[in-house]
């Protein structure tokens, strides 16, 4: 992935005059950036604060005499948070969290392997290369909701998947059981492996040819060349691609929703559960609590990625060297 390197800050001997000049620059920078911070505050800060506030409120009760819903939302303190781990709602939430984690690990692993393979194919110079590149990207260009519906047709009891790949009794892919998980994984890998392929291809293209020539002269096998040269050099791009995919899968919603259906617990993700609570049950407090839990979970995963794997999301390293 090509990163635009920010110009390195001038490192000079620190003199009093210079320091005051950089201070002035800092103030100007803050001023120039303030509209950005304002927008970020509105579109990032406000929803988060609003969700935190909402998560302390419950659903209004119903007056047993008149049947009318009582006015105002009652303050319930931490009830929405304890409900995550207790009772029926709790087991559904933990199940959703488990599904989300399972999908993230399995799909991203498969996508990485297939995506890298695709990139290697696309990188080779051969006849019709641009056609292959374009066709590999087609699944990624289809909106997820549409590909969910397409796969839903394919996975029906009398659909093409059963007709071609399942001998004997048809497998009921869209029923609420383990096979629904398989269906979601297949559809997700089909759709987003090209995304990883695309980013890795960009990484491959900046590896200079001399490195490979040197390896050839030294008599390295293709296998060794891949592990010792290609992979390390493409790693910065690959890690960023994987991080994006992880963040994406953690909030997966549309694919299981359109492919399998709402309310099926074998494929229910935290986003789907939160959506059901908010939009279907009008229980915004509980939905906010779930969304916040997912937010924290995602933030932790992203942090670990940046720290442990050194994902260079914003080109910081390029600027530092």
């Amino acid at each position: 992935m090509s990163t635009v390197a920010a110009p390195a800050p001038p490192v000079r001997k620190k003199t009093p005059r210079l320091r005051s000049r950089t201070e002035g620059v800092g103030r100007l920078a803050a001023l120039l950036l303030s509209p950005t911070f304002l927008v970020l505050g509105l579109v990032v800060g406000y929803p988060i604060l609003s969700a935190i506030r909402l998560s302390f409120y419950g659903q209004p009760g119903v007056d047993p005499e008149t049947g009318f819903v009582q006015e105002g939302q009652p303050f319930v303190g931490l009830d929405n948070y304890t409900a995550m781990f207790t009772g029926g709602e709790g087991s559904r939430f933990l199940n959703a969290l488990g599904n989300t984690t399972f999908f993230t690990i399995v799909t991203v692993l498969l996508e990485t392997v297939i995506g890298v393979a695709m990139a290697l194919v696309m990188h080779k110079a051969f006849f019709g290369r641009s056609l292959i590149r374009a066709s590999i990207l087609v699944p990624w260009a289809i909106p997820t909701a549409i590909s969910g519906l397409l796969w839903n047709f394919a996975f029906q009891a009398d659909g093409v998947v059963n007709a071609f790949f399942v001998p004997g009794d048809p497998i009921l892919w869209t029923t609420d059981a383990w096979q629904a998980k398989v269906a979601v994984i297949v559809a997700d890998v089909w759709k987003t492996a090209p995304f990883i392929g695309l980013l890795v291809l960009a990484g491959l293209q900046v590896i200079p040819a001399e490195v490979y020539e040197a390896a050839k002269v030294d008599g390295a096998s293709p296998w060794k060349t891949f592990w010792r040269i290609t992979l390390p050099l493409v790693k910065p791009a690959l890690v960023v691609a994987v991080l994006f995919r992880v963040l994406d899968v953690l909030r997966m919603f549309d694919l299981p929703y359109t492919l399998i259906g709402a309310g099926k617990q074998s494929v229910e993700t935290v986003s789907m559960f939160s959506f059901e609570q908010a939009i279907k049950f009008n229980n915004y407090g509980l939905a906010s609590a779930y969304a916040l839990a997912l937010f924290v979970y995602t933030a932790v995963v992203a942090y670990v990625f940046v720290k442990v794997l050194g994902a260079d999301v914003i080109g910081a390293r390029a600027g530092r060297k």
Binding site: E71, L172, G263, S271, S288
Partner: protein, 429 residues
Amino acid sequence: MRQRRVIAAAGAVVLVLGLAACGGSDDSSSTSTGKLEGVGPIKFASGKDTSRNRQKQVAAWNQAHPDQQVTLVELPEKADEQRQRMVQNAQTKSAEFGVINLDVVWTAEFAANKWVEQLPEGDFGLDSFLPATVETAKYFDKLYAVPLNSDGGLLYYRKDLLDKVGAKPPTTWAEMKTVCDQVLKLPEAKGSACYAGQFDKYEGLTVNFSEGVNSAGGEVVNDQGKVDVNTDAAKKGLGFMVDGFKSGLIPKKALTFKEEEGRRAFQAGELIFHRQWPYQYSLANATDGTSKVAGKFAVAPLPGLDGAGVSTLGGHNLAVSSFTKNKKTAVDFIKFITSEEQQRLDLEATSQAPTVASLYDDAALIKKFPYLPTLKASIETAKKRPAAVKYQEVSTAIQEAAYGAISGTSTPDDALKNLQSELENLTKK
């Protein structure tokens, strides 16, 4: 640098939060139990107008009332999405919609939240309506809507095959099984299965489960509004479906059937009996090659445990939004579109079941829609689904219990026991 990374990570997940945050609503409902006054243009929010007849009806009204123009707002085809649009409009107290077209099961939620106006019972000629349909428009004994369409379940059966073995359409589940045993021995019935309804995990399963329970003499929620589903009768009702899947009476793949999947199977000749709404009648009779059973089937009332079964009531009601200015126009428009004359035109154009009783006895209409007398019988004895404010949660709990039992992950006894306690929780608050 670190700070910017954190911001980047935060930005990546903010979409998730936006989901919950956008629902931020203070549910302080307006106290406008005002009079139904105000004349002027209104908007009529209704599901997708697939037959284009709704537009014609609106045009007819507009021609007669140039100063009270009605604009049709077509909502998505899916019921859940229609409800979302209407709920969101009500929560923001938007004056956009004047008349809203509610599914019968939403009446309680909209009335309890005071999103729709209470209506005077004497004004709409409700005496001429099928009483069961009027019940769906009431909440705590007060009228909040006027029935526009009704719907009831019918038993579609392969008349050609039943005639061959000399069988009559069954009135009980046991008879249905006996008839199937005979019919399935016929060479023409090779590869067919006996029975299917709507068994995927969605609203249709709530309908089919309720029909099973009611047809066995049980109830989900009784007359006093108490949950009473952990009973022998309910066990027999659910047991019919569970045993059906176990014995192969109901094909395994019916677990994926919504209305359309089932219709395709019936039209392909894969089913002897099919529980379905009236809309399938004309489609399965199409002679353009899409249906293999055109002219080979008929309809009968749903079978039950010891006698005729009980259908679950479907349909749509029209209500006046609490937030519109022109409520008198809204009421007058509802009177116009639910009149016998308009319902007749609508039935002819869309084959949607009307709510005016006399239309079911009209000879000319029966000639065109031979299922009308059976449908009338079905609707007259039909039961409505629980009128709960939290209907969506109630229905979800029912689906969870019924799906667990028919897919074999829980026993009917456990499923009903859990359902009883869950429904008690949902209706007590």
